[in-house]
């Protein structure tokens, strides 16, 4: 007998909002005349993401207690909603970055026609053409929807589907840079091949867990783990699942794609990936580890402990010698993944420990800060697009003090200097880790952040303490979208550093996972 699964439409509103917007975007792409596509696409994507944000917030405000819906495949809990709201908000900001038309003389960061071979006469012709690519908006909206689904998935299969829904559009839009197309295409190929490879691991892990427990529902897996303990099949499955998720979160040693893809992808896309993908991936990691394998902590705990250290060290140390800002921020993202894992560790299933709320908060502030940093990168340009080589930033503060100041703010936040959001976040996760007795990990993390601080500082040194080079880059005057992004992220970075109380409260209240 088949029963219709219970389905709370209210709980699905955010997802519907996103996926709906994406579908409308596809339709616009198909039917709207070319001239009106861009504004329409931007509007739809923004409505979708902001709608997703608002509906998530409304949902969070009105819901009573935690819930699972869609036949138990989706979790509607505090952490899920917090992460969904974070992703939707960061996604909306990313869409704004995509929509910026004032900075590039060619009016967009995205290629006019992806199918035209790079470097061909037609390509050169199109480079200066006013034509813009608008497929990125529905693609990005799909990706955001996928991410929001990812963090709410209460079922490994849904998780897998969400993983693909968020990944596939990302593969595509990574390859859509208007300038330096070869790099962009290379990034797309690498991301795609490795991403597919990682998905296969995740999937195989899913299959093994299914084989071990007979179910892919996280709650069922937990029960099974609690009663049966971990047999080899399940442990292998867990390992492979972790591999798949760590890949998305760009945690070392599964980070190798990150620098290449971050560097090659169009900068707004990099910003989007760095901010939103990280949030989504950690949402899934939290859910998998605590909801699915929460009773099996002792198995994966040492592993995550080790991975966290490796990731922090690799990110911090490798970042030292980078000369490209985007690559440097990629390594920074790897190091931050390690810091986030310390927060993940500082959480026990009983929910007493502040690890979950700390991780949620950290994800929010990291997303905002890194998005802002990449947004600044889009503004500093030379004749061939963004000037991302470090040496080009020398003396920037004297050309453009405001941009340099904003960038410095983001860099200080990434370095975790007090009175910026980055410090509050770091403090929160390290407190969680130490509270849980993992103080050696916290000490390693702190030393790693000191090392990482060196390369953040190097940028500040260049901007402020070096004399400008002749023929250096120009700082473009941003249009409204980028201005909004910078204003929001910079204000958030400062506010969450000085008076983080209310947001911490929010994260604290949101810190629960439904099983």
């Amino acid at each position: 007998m088949i029963e219709a699964p219970d389905l709370s439409l209210a709980a699905l509103t955010p997802l519907i909002s996103l996926f709906g917007a994406a579908c409308i975007g596809v339709l616009i792409e198909a039917f709207a005349p070319r001239e009106s596509r861009h504004p329409a696409q931007v509007a739809v994507a923004l409505v979708g993401t902001v709608g997703g944000l608002v509906s998530t917030l409304v949902l969070a405000g009105t819901r009573d207690g935690n819930d699972v819906t869609a036949g138990g495949a989706l979790a509607v809990d505090g952490a899920g909603l917090f992460l969904q709201a974070t992703i939707a908000g960061l996604g909306a900001l990313s869409i704004l970055l995509f929509a910026e038309r004032a900075l590039d003389p060619a009016r967009s960061s995205f290629v006019a026609a992806a199918a035209v071979p790079a470097g061909s006469p037609r390509d050169r012709e199109l480079l200066t053409a006013d034509r813009v690519q608008t497929e990125v908006y529905p693609l990005a909206t799909f990706a955001i929807g996928g991410m929001m689904l990812f963090v709410a998935a209460n079922d490994l299969l849904i998780m897998f589907v969400a993983l693909e829904v968020l990944s596939l559009p990302l593969y595509l839009i990574s390859g859509l840079a208007r300038r330096r197309r070869l790099l962009s295409q290379e990034a797309a190929v690498k991301y795609f091949l490795l991403g597919a490879f990682a998905s296969a691991f995740f999937l195989y892990g899913l299959a093994l867990v299914y084989g071990a427990t007979g179910s892919v529902r996280l709650s069922t897996i937990q029960e099974s783990v609690a009663t049966a303990g971990g047999d080899t099949l399940m442990v292998l499955g867990l390992a492979l699942l972790i591999v798949g998720l760590m890949f998305k979160a760009s945690v070392a040693p599964f980070h190798t794609w990150t620098p290449d893809v971050y560097q090659g992808a169009p900068t707004p896309v990099t910003a989007f990936m760095a901010a939103c993908t990280k949030v989504a991936a950690f949402g899934a990691i939290l859910r998998l580890l605590y909801v699915g394998f929460g009773t099996d902590e002792w198995t994966w705990r040492p592993l995550v402990y080790g991975i966290a250290i490796v990731s922090m060290v690799v990110g911090a140390v490798l970042g030292l010698t980078q000369t490209d800002l985007k690559r440097m921020l990629a390594y920074s993202s790897i190091a931050h993944a390690g810091f986030l894992l310390t927060g993940v560790l500082g959480f026990d299933a009983a929910g007493e420990s502040p690890g979950l709320s700390a991780t949620l908060f950290y994800l929010l502030v990291y997303g905002l800060t890194t998005l802002g940093a990449f947004a600044v990168l889009t503004m500093v340009r030379d004749g061939d697009g963004e000037a991302t080589h470090l040496s080009q930033w020398a003396g920037l503060a004297q050309r453009s003090p405001v941009v340099a100041a904003v960038m410095t703010l983001f860099l200080l936040a990434l370095a975790g200097i007090p009175l910026t959001s980055g410090f509050t976040g770091k403090f929160a996760v390290f407190r969680a880790a130490i509270d849980d007795g993992a103080w050696p990990l916290a000490v390693v993390a702190l030393l790693a952040s000191a090392v990482a601080a060196f390369f953040y500082l190097r940028v500040v040194v260049l901007m402020y303490f070096s004399e400008p080079v002749a023929g250096g880059p120009t700082v473009g005057v941003p249009g409204l979208p980028t201005t909004i992004v910078l204003a929001v992220t910079a204000a958030a970075t400062l506010v969450l550093g000085v008076v983080p109380g209310s947001v911490l409260d929010l994260a604290g209240q949101a810190a629960n996972l439904v099983g």
């Binding site: 000490v443 040194v461 008076v499 409260d505």
Partner: protein, 558 residues
């Protein structure tokens, strides 16, 4: 009067002042300077009024105020001062106007604007007040780290030729220490949370009992941060670089006040919070302190760069301060705190004078000077006063503090004290060597234009000096000429200008007055130190003599 928010105002006023100055359009340098000076004088006034409102017989912490800040972390914006913090605030209040006055005619490097310089100075002042006035460990940490930023920019933007290296080194050293301390700060919170409500309030933390092993770890966490900041050997190598490359005003605040946070931290946090660990580690700390006294003094003698030399002398002085703190006697502790104040004044003056000399000669190398005393007697005189204060000659303020430190340390730690007294001789050596080489003898080197040819290879820009005035311009101009052409012409070194005299006069006066009548400061400091010594298990009343003399001579025969 006690409810008046002195401390809050002392943070807010300069912070707002910094914002105002930073917002001034370019080219309004004079206005920026006037605003900065005004603001810093207001802070000084507030500090003095706060001192007047402070009751030496009252509670340990006074002028307190507390507002909940980040509830989730149990953090309050809690301010309050004991005598130790209060005298440090006075020092901040005195030094900042002096520094602003001393930097009045400075020319920035490159195309930078001096308004920014003054904005950073004011912001730094706000942070420094905060770090001393915080009674919440978290708040203290926030100021402790945030303080780095203005200093970093002061060194990096307005410093000497190797300013980038120095600024980054300074920042990273301090950051490493700070981050290790952060771990301990969190650990402290966790410990307090395990014993009830988690809190960062100093008074709560002071009352809890911590397991000795945990204490050791936490102590080390705090200690490393403070030992870097103070700095103790072997964590000192950032200071000579930072001190040498920083602009003179920045160097004064860096060595005069900023680094005191380290020793202040020993006294405020390490000792009271971790008394057992402090006792266990005291011999090692003392060994480092004494090693620093001797090692840094010898190194100071070997320097060829005046600002590096002064920086090394500070390392030696910090050794004395650490000795006083970890001797665990009221006398030595009082001496150490007094030393912190006096060192700020004396070394501040020394840096200022050296800066004025550098502004005239355009070089930091000792070998480039000679015979200045004959041409600029007032400059030489002030230099001598600063130097004598630095070698703790009786009659100068430093003597009182050094004497208290040593006499207070001797009863509990005779061996370390005896070793440290050797530092007294070394101090005389490095001060007088520098004085003789620059001020005495026949005019030579840059002073008669001969050293320029040899020096022309180096960047001839202003070496971060006070007022890269006409002297430097001449130096640069003549540097291009051949040595033989300029050798015959002796250039006169101008003596101190009225502004410069006005800048150094308050410090000279303080050196002499506090050298003769230090008791008011001691009265402020002593209760707080006694309480701290009591926390760590010493006798707050002072050293108990080995021999009971109450019986007087009647027992002499026994």
């Amino acid at each position: 009067m006690n409810s008046f928010p002195f401390l809050l105002l002392m943070i807010v006023v300069p912070a707002v002042g910094a914002a105002v100055v930073a917002a001034l359009p370019r080219g309004r340098d004079l206005l920026a300077k006037q605003i900065s000076l005004g603001v810093s004088l207001v802070v000084l006034l507030l500090a003095v009024l706060a001192t007047a409102a402070f009751d030496t017989d009252g509670d340990r912490f006074q002028l307190t105020s507390s507002v909940s800040w980040i509830e989730d972390f149990g953090v309050s914006f809690a301010l309050g001062v004991d005598g130790i913090a209060l005298v440090m605030l006075l020092l901040v209040g005195v030094l900042v106007p002096v520094v602003i006055g001393a930097s009045w005619d400075d020319e920035p490097v490159g195309t930078r604007s001096m308004t920014v310089f003054f904005a950073w100075i004011l912001l730094l002042e706000a942070m420094m007040v905060g770090v001393f006035a915080a009674t919440d460990v978290f708040l203290f940490y926030v100021f402790f780290e945030a303080m780095l930023v203005p200093m970093y920019f002061l060194i990096g933007s307005f410093g000497g030729p190797r300013r980038q290296y120095a600024a980054v080194k300074f920042f990273l050293y301090s950051l490493v220490g700070g981050l290790i301390m952060l771990a301990a700060v969190i650990g402290l919170y966790v410990v307090s949370a395990n014993q009830g409500e988690g809190s960062f309030a100093f008074e709560v933390l002071n009352a809890i009992d911590i397991d000795p092993d945990v204490q050791k770890l936490l102590f080390l966490g705090f200690f490393v941060a403070f030992a870097i900041k103070a700095p103790l050997v072997p964590l000192h190598t950032w200071l000579p670089d930072a001190g040498a490359e920083a602009p003179v005003g920045g160097a004064v605040l860096l060595v005069g006040v900023l680094d005191k946070v380290g020793t202040f931290g020993f006294l405020r946090y390490c000792l009271p919070l971790f008394p057992d660990a402090s006792r266990d580690f005291a011999p090692y700390v003392l060994a480092l302190a004494v090693a620093g006294v001797l090692y840094a003094a010898l190194l100071a003698m070997g320097q060829s760069d005046m600002k590096r030399l002064v920086s090394y002398t500070s390392v030696a002085h910090f050794g004395f301060i650490a000795l006083g703190i970890f001797a665990f006697t009221t006398e030595a502790g009082t001496g150490a705190v007094l030393y912190m104040v006096n060192h700020g004044i004396a070394t501040g003056l020394l840096f200022l004078v050296v800066g004025m000399l550098i502004a005239r000669g355009g070089s930091r190398r000792i070998a480039d000077y000679g015979g200045v005393a004959a041409q600029a007697p007032v400059l030489a005189g002030v230099f001598l006063v600063a130097g004598l204060a630095s070698l703790a000659l009786p009659g100068t303020n430093s003597f009182v503090s050094e004497f208290l430190v040593l006499i207070g340390s001797y009863p509990t730690r005779p061996v370390f004290t005896i070793l440290a007294t050797v530092g007294i001789i070394l101090a005389a050596l490095y001060v007088l060597l520098m004085y003789q080489r620059t001020m005495h003898g026949p005019a030579r080197g840059l002073m008669d234009g001969q050293g320029l040819a040899a020096d022309a290879g180096e960047p001839a820009g202003p070496a971060g000096g006070t007022g890269a005035t006409a002297a430097t311009a001449t130096a640069t101009a003549t540097a291009t000429a051949t040595a033989t052409a300029t050798a015959t012409r002796t250039r006169r070194v101008p003596d101190l200008s009225r502004r410069e005299i006005a800048v150094v006069a308050p410090l000279v006066a303080l050196i002499l007055v506090l050298g003769v009548y230090p008791q008011p400061l001691i009265d402020l400091i002593e209760p707080a130190v006694a309480a701290t010594v009591g926390d760590v298990g010493g006798d707050p009343g002072g050293v108990v003599p080995d021999v009971d003399t109450s019986g007087a001579e009647t027992e002499a025969g026994n």
